[in-house]
């Protein structure tokens, strides 16, 4: 009985969530959290498009240690991420990045 009573509330909340993610965020809406998964020596997605203020989380699902380093090496750099580690940053500016341990691994963040 308890479940039945709660269900309509849950559904309307769910609808609200859908609205938030489907339409362009307006002022006051929570920033989105995006994940870049590192596995098999690749950043996935390799190009991520976000809005200013969104959060980007790098998750290392690989066997070996990686990092995410802004290409000039001056703007930002994650710490070394061992297998299973993650690191989050706020998106402020578009940037190309790479892994300083494996310079052949590259990615891009596009801030709209």
């Amino acid at each position: 009985m308890k479940t039945l009573k709660l269900l309509p509330v849950d559904l309307s909340l769910f609808g609200l969530l859908l609205l938030c993610t489907t339409f362009t965020p307006v002022a006051g809406v929570q920033p989105t959290v995006h994940t870049i998964r590192i596995s098999q020596m690749q950043f996935n997605p390799a190009t991520l498009t976000v809005h200013k203020g969104d959060t980007i989380v790098f998750v290392n699902k690989d066997i070996v240690t990686h990092d995410a380093t802004e290409i000039s090496g001056k703007a930002w750099k994650s710490p070394a991420l061992a297998s299973g580690d993650s690191w989050r940053m706020a998106a402020t500016k578009s940037a190309a990045f790479y892994c300083s341990f494996h310079p052949v691994m590259k990615g891009k963040i596009v801030v709209k």
């Binding site: 098999q40 020596m41 341990f101 052949v104």
Partner: protein
Amino acid sequence: MVLFIAFALQLQTAAAQNKQNNPKLSDAEVASVAVIANQIDIDQAMLAKERSKNQDVLQFAETMINDHKAVIKQASDLVQKLGVTPKENAVGKQLQADAAKTANMLRTKSGSAFDKAYVNNEVAYHKAVISAVEGLLIPESENEELRNLLQSIVPALNAHLEHAQMLQKQLNQK
């Protein structure tokens, strides 16, 4: 250079002969070869850390040590889980013998000659190991988890190869 080529050929020949004569490697032997192949690259990287002064080469060597240690850890965890004891065999012994020759050659060099020789060997070695993993170790593995583990290290080996090739170009421009 002759040494590297001879070594790469030997591994490739081992893989080719395996297809023809099918000298079965047990999973215990595959595991042993996998650990030895990774350990060899760690040892060469240690030598590079001793002898090189080039920042890019030193950083590459550090990555080789960390990555190949991580792979050995995965392999050791798996054989322990499977209750397999890695078993010495002719392929592994040949790898060690060739690695000893390479190490002796590298010890005679210093400065940029060392850097070039080390990086050239890393290019040849990773090529040879990739072909051995794909052409010999994966087909010889009975156990699915062992096969999957070997499959999962191929992208790292490829990234190492590309990284070494990048350094090779850089060093040859100087």
